[in-house]
């Protein structure tokens, strides 16, 4: 990266100490002129797509058209019989996908809100990428849960609205809460995605022409960058950052209640709430790192914004979350096993030794063994392709975990006469459809909105400097405002 240093007006900290490798390593210490950075972001977004981009779009659209539109229409018309759900596995991959996508969506909030609240500065260049995952992931979760319903055309009955039949949704049911929680989360995360986007949209508005200018003009809500506007924006973002954290925790906790509140062996576990939250973060962080690696590899100028230090930082988080997940898994397993209920014991045995035993072991390897083996090494965890493989494996492992909790555990119940394996049917195209739609939305978004919150990066760069404490050089941040 040969950037001309004389243009780096705000890089006084780096100048002062002259620590070259620190600057290369840390985005915050490697400032570029504001205009140039804005141009880089605009360029990466406006870059004329190559034929490869269109091919990928076409393939994804085809998958969405077949998997999501056609298959779903067919399933609505013919009934859930074309899926693989049966007695006793009444819930199948649809619910697995729902939990999975909600899990994915946790990463955005975690990175954006929690790290913002805790002022983890490395978050700055990729909060937007993570928040987009939240919103788009929730869209897929919504699709998945609606697919799951036998009569999806009546799903509005789950919403509390006054009606002359004097009927309300049943507030005893975890599913009702689930729906409310997911809706709340979708709305709040969309707003939380939008708020920090406003200055960037204003920036894009000022630097574009034609329909894009109109588009950004509408979305930027007339943001001009006055002091008052910035103050309001910061306040709003602060409120949201704090408010969305309990929402995020509640969503996956309530999702876990769908299982924990049921009278089934293997499900009624009090630890499911935090276990699910940690599981969600586990898959979410894995997904974030994959997305970052892809963005970095495919989009222009991204190597400037997303650096090894970010992979390193997320890698550390992944390692910690993996450990937390392992702890919860062990705790859950231990108590279930210790409980000694004959059906639960049967179920645990079935998990390990039954026909889906391979999945159980794969889950442990992908979720624990591989992250631990790779992420402890700073060099390895700073290698984008390696961590993104770990990220993919964690996601596979977490999908397996949900698969084991839902259809595999449903196989075993208190009526051995009804035990039966679950074989997916139309769930596979539908599931792939949601995945393709997620990627498609992301690709379209990458061409429409700035993926890098450039104002946040600039803000960070202004506030950072290197300080020497004895022999150690440390990156410090001075409080803004």
């Amino acid at each position: 990266m040969a950037y001309e240093k004389k243009h780096a007006e705000h890089a006084h900290a780096a100048h002062a100490h002259g620590e070259e490798h620190f600057r290369e390593k840390h985005l915050m210490l490697d400032p570029l002129p504001r205009g140039q950075m804005n141009d880089m972001v605009m360029e990466s977004m406006m870059e004329k797509p190559t034929w490869k981009f269109w091919v990928v779009i076409a393939i994804l659209s085809a998958i969405v058209a077949y998997g999501l539109v056609y298959s779903w229409a067919k399933m609505i018309a013919e009934g859930l019989g074309i899926a693989g759900v049966n007695r006793p596995a009444y819930w199948g991959i649809f619910l697995v996908n729902t939990v999975f996508w909600i899990g994915i969506s946790h990463a955005g909030t975690f990175i954006s809100a929690i790290l913002r609240v805790f002022k983890a500065e490395f978050r700055r260049p990729f909060t937007r990428a993570a928040e987009l995952m939240t919103t788009f992931g929730l869209v897929q979760a919504g699709f998945s849960i609606f697919m799951h319903m036998g009569r999806v055309w009546l799903s509005y009955w789950l919403m509390p609205y006054p009606n002359q039949r004097m009927l309300w949704p049943n507030l005893h049911s975890p599913l009702t809460w689930d729906l409310l929680a997911i809706t709340t989360y979708l709305l709040s995360s969309t707003m939380y995605l939008f708020l920090p986007l406003i200055p960037d949209l204003a920036m894009a508005r000022d630097r574009s022409t034609g329909w894009r200018k109109n588009f950004y003009k509408i979305l930027a809500l007339g943001f001009r960058g006055t002091e008052g506007e910035w103050t309001h924006l910061r306040n709003a973002m602060n409120i949201f950052a704090f408010a969305i954290i309990p929402v995020m925790f509640s969503v996956h906790t309530i999702v876990s209640w769908d299982f924990a509140a049921a009278t089934r062996p293997g499900w009624s576990s009090t630890i499911f709430g935090p276990y699910f939250v940690v599981g969600a973060l586990h898959s979410g962080m894995g997904a974030v790192i994959v997305v970052l690696a892809v963005i970095r590899a495919t989009m222009k100028h991204m190597k400037y914004f997303i650096r090894a230090e970010h992979f390193d930082a997320i890698g550390k988080l992944m390692l910690i979350i993996s450990m937390a997940w392992a702890y919860f898994f062990f705790n859950d397993y231990m108590v279930q096993w210790y409980g000694g209920d004959k059906w639960t014991k049967q179920l645990l045995h079935f998990h390990e030794a039954g026909p889906m035993g391979w999945m159980w072991f794969a889950m442990l390897i992908f979720n624990i063994v591989i992250p631990w083996a790779i992420l402890w090494n700073p060099k390895w965890r700073s290698t984008p392709w390696l961590v993104s493989i770990v990220g993919i494996l964690i996601n596979v492992g977490m999908w397996f975990e949900r698969y084991i909790i839902i259809p595999v555990s449903l196989t075993i119940n208190r009526m051995p006469f009804t035990w039966r394996l679950y074989k997916p049917g139309v769930e596979i195209p539908l599931g792939l459809g949601t995945l393709a739609f997620f990627i498609l939305l992301y690709m379209i978004a990458s061409k429409l909105i700035p993926l890098i919150p450039v104002w946040e990066v600039q803000e960070g760069q202004m506030a950072h400097e290197l300080k020497k404490f004895g022999r150690e050089t440390v990156v410090t941040v001075s409080e803004l405002e």
Binding site: N163, Q164, R165, M166
Partner: protein, 184 residues
């Protein structure tokens, strides 16, 4: 291209066109709802008011209402019991279908007017026994020709009356507001 369309729509003529389109859509929807609430076409333009005016009781032709779930449509034999003694039957154009049906032995295909969906188990007897009169639900038949519903038979309407009927009687309320009373 898109811009040109937008520009055109923004001018007064365009706005009027949009207004008309919206109005047309609304009226279509309203008309659709309206048609579902209209008395259907019947094979015979049966004049209820004439029969009521002769002093014929509802239960004479629809005796099932007092005995069981369905009020029933009278058999052709019952129609003919009176009508073959009425000279007008032979000449009236309106009554030709009845004459044809009886002589040819083909049943008349009536179109039911007061209907509840099949997931509602309605029992006339219980309602008559509870002191309801036919006209409470079916309207005043002395004023209509072909039967038509004075209101939409939906759950809110049913439930309203059930709750009112129960009043302060708790046991009755339990029974009358139980899902299983009508749905099974």
């Amino acid at each position: 291209m898109i811009k040109r369309i937008f520009d055109w729509l923004k001018q007064p003529l365009g706005l009027i066109a949009v207004g008309i389109a919206v109005l047309a859509l609304f009226s279509l929807a309203a008309y659709g709802i309206y048609t579902t609430q209209q008395p259907p076409e019947q094979p015979i333009q049966f004049p209820h008011q004439t029969h009521v005016a002769f002093g014929i009781q509802c239960l004479y032709c629809h005796p099932g209402a007092a005995k069981g779930p369905a009020a029933g449509i009278p058999s052709q034999a019952k129609c003919w019991g009176c009508h073959n003694q009425i000279a007008k039957t032979q000449t009236s154009l309106l009554l030709a279908p009845l004459k044809d049906a009886v002589t040819s032995g083909t049943p008349i295909e009536w179109v039911p007017v007061a209907q509840v969906p099949d997931f509602v188990q309605f029992n006339h007897r219980a309602h008559i026994a509870a002191g309801k009169n036919c006209e409470d639900c079916h309207g005043d038949m002395s004023k209509v020709t072909i039967a038509q519903n004075p209101q939409v038979f939906n759950m809110g309407w049913c439930l309203n009356c059930h709750v009112e009927t129960a009043g302060q009687d708790h046991e009755k309320l339990v029974k009358l507001s139980d899902c299983g009373t009508c749905h099974y």
